[in-house]
Symmetry: C2
Subunit: 243 residues, 2 copies
């Protein structure tokens, strides 16, 4: 148990939640380490949604609303942290939700699927094929999943697959706290924000945007601005950190 007076209570509580899901087999050990990396970047960003991330989240909503076949790809960490938030985003955008795991076993797919369904998410089920050209198990996709998407939201993605999805001509929206990661650089749009803040922000925007606003947001998208803004935010905070 973490005392609520600990200066980093919320972050430690989330870490404990993930540790619990790791013991349950939903989150992989590698997923825990990856989460820790995200925590560090979040810490450097002040553990809040920056103005620039909020604009990225609105742009993401515009892309999902304007898509022909939007897909949300969910891994163990995302399911453990944000199953309920994904349900609301799915309702707001009518996106298909697909489970996609790096450390893929039928048992883990079933566990993550049950967790999502328990929170009201409709999950693509049934046959999968290796439709995404990557060497590892994140290459599996349903015919109506990542392979069929024109716009795909990939929270907490690996760089390989993000690059592969972009090279397939898809618009890839990444949620990644590291603005320097391969995923962040490869994506069409990178939201540099924590996943449990980012997903509800996209959902809220999806409920607000008019078709005209969607078009404007998409036409102005330049991902390098989002990445640079996140780097500037971190650098600015570091320069005053020991004051």
């Amino acid at each position: 148990m973490i005392s609520p007076d600990h200066p980093r209570y919320r972050s430690l509580e989330v870490r404990e939640r993930l540790a619990w899901f790791a013991r349950e087999g939903v989150v992989s050990p590698e997923g825990l380490a990856a989460h820790g990396r995200g925590e560090a970047f979040d810490y450097l960003l002040g553990e809040k949604t920056t103005e620039s991330a909020l604009l990225a989240e609105r742009t993401a909503a515009a892309m999902l609303l304007s898509a022909r076949h939007p897909v949300i790809s969910v891994n163990g960490n995302t399911a453990a942290l944000a199953a309920r938030e994904i349900r609301y985003l799915q309702k707001a955008t009518r996106a298909a939700v697909e489970v996609n795991l790096f450390h893929r076993t039928p048992e883990r797919v079933a566990k993550v699927t049950r967790l999502l369904e328990g929170h009201g998410v409709e999950v693509l089920e049934g046959e999968v094929e290796r439709l995404i050209p990557v060497s590892h198990d994140r290459g599996w996709s349903h015919h109506d999943g990542a392979a069929a998407a024109d716009v795909i939201l990939v929270p907490l993605e690996d760089g390989d697959r993000a690059e592969a999805l972009v090279s397939m001509g898809k618009s890839v929206i990444a949620i990644d706290l590291n603005p320097l990661s391969r995923t962040a650089r490869a994506a069409t749009l990178t939201i540099v924000d924590e996943v449990t803040r980012a997903i509800p922000a996209i959902t809220r925007a999806a409920g607000e945007l008019s078709p005209g606003e969607c078009e404007r947001l998409i036409s102005r998208l330049d991902n390098s601005n989002f990445l640079q803004a996140a780097l500037d935010e971190i650098a600015g905070r570091l320069s005053h950190a020991l004051d």
Copy 2:
């Protein structure tokens, strides 16, 4: 298996090693997440020992060599990553080595102890008492362990205990990749470097330093310089990151 042509091979290999030790019960799930945080800072530091960290490592060697009763406190992550390196540091500094775990069970203490002993480390064993004033299980110490140390090396420490050890009048040497952590700020000396690079660097310095050099290094110690140098390094790298 991670392909050696992956751009972050070494870091991923270390993460896989920790994941393996997590499945063995040596490393806790929370330890994996904490490791991930360290990885992110290491990434921002360029995954190399900076000039300033090297000076900190030489200063650490001076402090351990000059101590009356030096102690190295080892947790699960440190044992999993650096058991052999600790053996050499123990030989070079004649420090006592104590196992100290946040998620402490007799089984985990035994596992970590066996791992260290398997690499030739002499580990303090036998009775422990709650000698360090913290509310959690890191308060347990042998009479010849943390409680008796005048100089104590704490790789990968939590902020609570680092503060408690300093408040007991001990000289605390932290190894912490986050220059803003409570541990980093509380310690007498903070080495902002990755543990498997830092420990061998201390060992090498311990074999080289004369008593006069030790005295000079200790007299010039100002920890805020080390913390600021690490922040400057990160900020400098970020400003050129997208060039």
